[in-house]
């Protein structure tokens, strides 16, 4: 057995004159965890597609298992043991766990008849290899995202994978699930399988990688042992600049809280939550999946019903029982899943920005004024520096970070006083992320009260001046930013028992001024 599984040498690829990859070389050894790091548009996806045989490079050599391939086809790649797990997993939601694991293998060996006993055996064996138990007969639709990913990994193993490529595997996972996934990846490694882990989350890369290759603008910046990397170096390599984020410095401006939440409960979602939000504050709401953080946000936005407790805005009790009423009270909500909940992907950037305020853009005779529409959209594109060549292009043509800005613009156009941001930078790369953080901070400085729901610890610490911690449906703690650092917040977040002093009941509801 050779000690190199895959070797790419001097690979170049250009699309219509744009150099996507320029002289990239990569060596993957068996049982190695190799991270591929880069911002959106750096050429990561093209490189994956070349390894999977979906795209043929213009120049360069591909050698797998000592065999050179002039034109690698997808079938060749699979036969040599290369398996790609795409972000959407490509699973069949209507089929069972067992069948999802076994079906592609059965197909690739040209089976005509399905032997259900064998399907179960294959699935059980694969789950055993990674040390995980899943209900074999459950429909994949009914299991969690993390479990779906495990099914996809098992499916790759069943097909005798020697190299598993995982594309942005952790985007939809919580901290705890990411821990579990890393354990599974180490188990996979024990089986002698190499993993090419594509990510732009720095902490993950530092934690799991044996080696890391960082690419930028289609060129390899560096390909080194992970031991020689640290956070700052990674950021520098990825973006080509040093990003120093300043913490948010909140100065109390007014005497009255903007939003007061008093003993709020929603059955089956959260219980007895009290806090307040002052103008100009950025308050983080964090907790593990299932802690009720998203549910709290949805209740404030009128999506989930409230059973008990009170919401006050400007000191006056308000009734929020629908999205409409939330909007009337000046509350805006930017959802976590912007692709399905926040944007009309096929519609133009212009239209997406003005959709919430279209009533105000009518001209003579109550007809929509295109000139005013474009003017208004142009203003937001400038203010939030949305990078696009033409605002008439569909939103789906934008990168993740720019899409998120369009969602923000859409809400800001309606001048909300309270803005709830759920996972504001999920799926956004490092460079855009700090720019989005700056936008959020500037909004707060203008007097908007902002709730940021997130489990991205550096993000919480950089952006928020106070952080609420939720655990199993209750408020488990309220902290001033200055009391916390990364380690402390991480341990608070992952701790399963309540924090020793019942912080939630003793602390005041308002921010500490001083």
């Amino acid at each position: 057995m050779s000690d190199v599984f895959l070797s790419l040498t001097h690979i170049s690829k250009s699309y219509a004159g744009v150099q996507a990859l320029d002289d990239v070389s990569l060596v993957v050894k068996p049982a190695e965890i190799h991270c591929l790091v880069g911002e959106n548009g750096s050429g990561k996806s093209t490189l994956i597609k070349i390894i999977a045989g979906v795209v043929t490079p213009d120049q360069g050599e591909i050698v797998i298992n000592g065999k050179p391939f002039r034109r690698l086809t997808p079938m060749d790649a699979i036969r040599e043991g290369i398996q790609v797990i795409y972000q959407d997993f490509s699973l069949f939601p209507n089929l069972t766990v067992a069948e999802n694991i076994a079906l592609n293998y059965e197909l690739s060996r040209n089976a005509r008849i399905v032997r259900w006993g064998q399907v179960r055996q294959l699935a059980e064996a694969a789950l055993g290899k990674i040390g995980v138990r899943l209900p074999l007969d459950a429909e994949v639709e009914s299991i969690s995202v993390a479990d779906k990913q495990l099914v996809a990994i098992c499916r790759a193993l069943v097909q005798n994978a020697r190299l598993i490529i995982m594309d942005e595997a952790t985007t939809a996972l919580t901290e705890k699930e990411i821990r579990a996934l890393f354990k599974v990846i180490h188990n996979v490694q024990q089986e002698g399988v190499a993993v090419l882990f594509v990510s732009h989350k720095l902490d993950e890369v530092l934690e799991i990688a044996d080696k890391a290759m960082i690419i930028r603008n289609g060129k390899v910046v560096v390909d080194v042992d992970a031991a020689n990397l640290d956070r700052n170096k990674l950021v520098y390599y990825m973006t080509g600049r040093r990003i120093e984020e300043a913490d948010y410095d909140y100065t109390p401006q007014q005497k009255r809280p903007l939003l007061e939440v008093i003993h709020l409960s929603s059955r089956g979602n959260f219980q007895d939550v009290s806090f307040s939000l002052w103008p100009g504050e950025i308050v983080g709401v964090t907790g593990l999946l299932g802690s009720g953080r998203t549910e709290l946000a949805l209740s404030l936005f009128g999506v989930l019903p409230v059973d008990r407790g009170e919401i006050r805005i400007d000191g006056k009790p308000v009734h929020i029982n629908s999205i409409q009423s939330a909007i009337e009270h000046g509350i805006g909500y930017v959802p976590e899943d912007r692709l399905t909940e926040g944007l009309f992907l096929d519609q133009s950037i212009n239209r997406n920005i003005v959709i919430r305020t279209i009533d105000g853009l009518t001209g003579r005779g109550g007809l929509l004024s295109i000139t005013r529409l474009k003017e208004r959209a142009r203003q937001w594109i400038r203010d939030l520096s949305i990078k696009t060549s033409d605002p008439e292009l569909p939103v789906k043509s934008l990168s993740g970070g720019n899409q998120q800005r369009v969602v923000l613009a859409k809400w800001l156009a309606s001048k909300p006083r309270i803005l709830i941001l759920n996972g504001p930078t999920v799926g956004v790369d490092v460079g855009s992320k700090s720019e989005l953080h700056d936008i959020i901070k500037n909004l707060a400085r203008e007097g908007i009260g902002i709730l940021v729901i997130s489990d991205d610890i550096p993000e919480l610490l950089h952006v928020c001046n106070r952080i609420l911690l939720m655990r199993r449906g209750r408020l488990a703690g309220m902290f001033d930013r200055r009391e916390l650092d990364e380690n402390k917040l991480t341990s608070l977040l992952t701790e399963s028992t309540p924090a020793a002093p019942a912080a939630s009941t003793t602390q005041s509801l308002s921010p500490q001024i001083g």
Binding site: P74, M75, Y86, D88, S90, L91, F92, P93, N94, L95, E99, L103, N104, E106, L107, S108, A111, R112, I113, V114, R267, G268, N269, F270, Q271, G290, S291, G292, E295, R471, R472, G473, R474, P498
Partner: protein, 338 residues
């Protein structure tokens, strides 16, 4: 395990069917006579064969509304041709010819759907009009009562007959064997062949099926050709049992058939459905429409009752999934005792 069984649409439809039979039978004992049951079987045969075809299309994520047009086209054309050549032989030749015409028409659907990736509803709406228009305009629009001898005798082809207490002889028609055979073939196909699983895979996620390397064009060609074959055979049975070939018949039943299939648990969104559920759905609709008269409900009310049953039957799973979505999201920590 038991809970899982009871949460299935098949169980629900089965139980409803049994309750309905018991109620109707209690009101009018005629319901339980062999004559009534043979009648039910006969009525369910054509709908049942159609419904199995619809099931396969629905599972693949498509929808076909042209199968009734294929059925009447195949049946009528076969009758005209057999009359013209003066064919004297038995019914198998009629089934073969009608089925073959059905396959050809099904391939026309498949061509547009698989080759050009057009939406299945639009294609089959178009071909329904096309097939029917062609039939009426080119082949004929008159009712043919002077049938070839093999076809004329088919309505008397009973499997066996029984004579009841009043001296009336009733028989179970052999056409029901077609339904049994089609059901068994479909069950084996869908459950135990890669082709069948590729139909579920396609209905579950087309993109995943493509990435896994399924030959989607081939699968779709098979599906629509198979539906054409079933439609051709069912159309021929229909003509034989009614002892006439009427080119105005059958078209118009497609929504009832689709409704019976959906009632039996097949999902309009694709990826879900079973043969047993489909058969139960067909039986339920058949018992409803044939037996309401036995309990004194005027026949004009039948459509209303069937409509209501269909809405209730399709609403129940929808409500159930809504409920499931509204379930508690968070396992709230109990307060420590003070």
């Amino acid at each position: 395990m038991l809970k899982k069984l009871f949460s299935r649409q098949e169980t629900l439809v089965g139980v409803t069917l049994i309750v309905l039979c018991l109620v109707i039978g209690a009101i009018n004992p005629v319901f339980w006579t062999p004559g009534n049951w043979f009648d039910l079987a006969r009525s369910a045969t054509v709908t049942g064969i159609f419904a199995i075809g619809v099931l396969i299309v629905l599972v693949s994520g498509g929808i076909d509304v042209s199968f009734t047009a294929i059925a009447v086209f195949s049946m009528y054309t076969t009758t005209v041709i057999m009359n013209q050549i003066g064919f004297e032989g038995g019914m198998p030749a009629f089934f073969a010819m009608s089925g073959a015409i059905g396959i050809v028409l099904g391939l026309i659907n498949a061509f547009f759907i698989a080759r050009f990736r057009l939406p299945t509803l639009i294609v089959t709406l178009g071909t329904q009009s096309l097939f029917r228009g062609f039939l009426l305009f080119v082949i004929g629009s008159k009712i043919i009562r002077d049938l070839p001898p093999g076809m004329a005798q088919y309505s008397g082809a009973f499997l066996f007959t029984v004579t009841d207490a009043r001296g009336i002889t009733v028989g179970l028609h052999s056409a029901v064997l077609f339904l049994v055979a089609v059901a068994i073939v479909a069950q084996l196909l869908l459950r135990y062949t890669m082709l069948g699983r590729s139909i579920y895979a396609l209905g579950g996620s087309r993109e995943a099926a493509e990435r896994a390397g399924f030959n989607i064009v081939q699968t779709q060609v098979f599906i629509y050709a198979f539906v054409g074959l079933l439609a051709g055979i069912a159309g021929m049975i229909y003509g034989g049992l009614n002892r006439q070939a009427n080119s105005q018949d059958i078209v118009g039943q497609e929504l009832d058939v689709i409704a019976a299939t959906v009632l039996g648990g097949a999902s309009i969104a694709g990826g879900r459905g079973s043969v047993i559920g489909t058969l139960l759905g067909v039986m339920l609709v058949t018992v409803m429409s044939n037996s309401l008269i036995l309990v004194g409900i005027p026949s004009i009310w039948q459509r209303v009752v069937i409509g209501a049953i269909i809405i209730i039957g399709t609403a129940v799973p929808a409500i159930r999934s809504l409920r499931a979505a509204r379930r508690a999201n968070v396992d709230i920590e109990p307060l420590p005792a003070e």
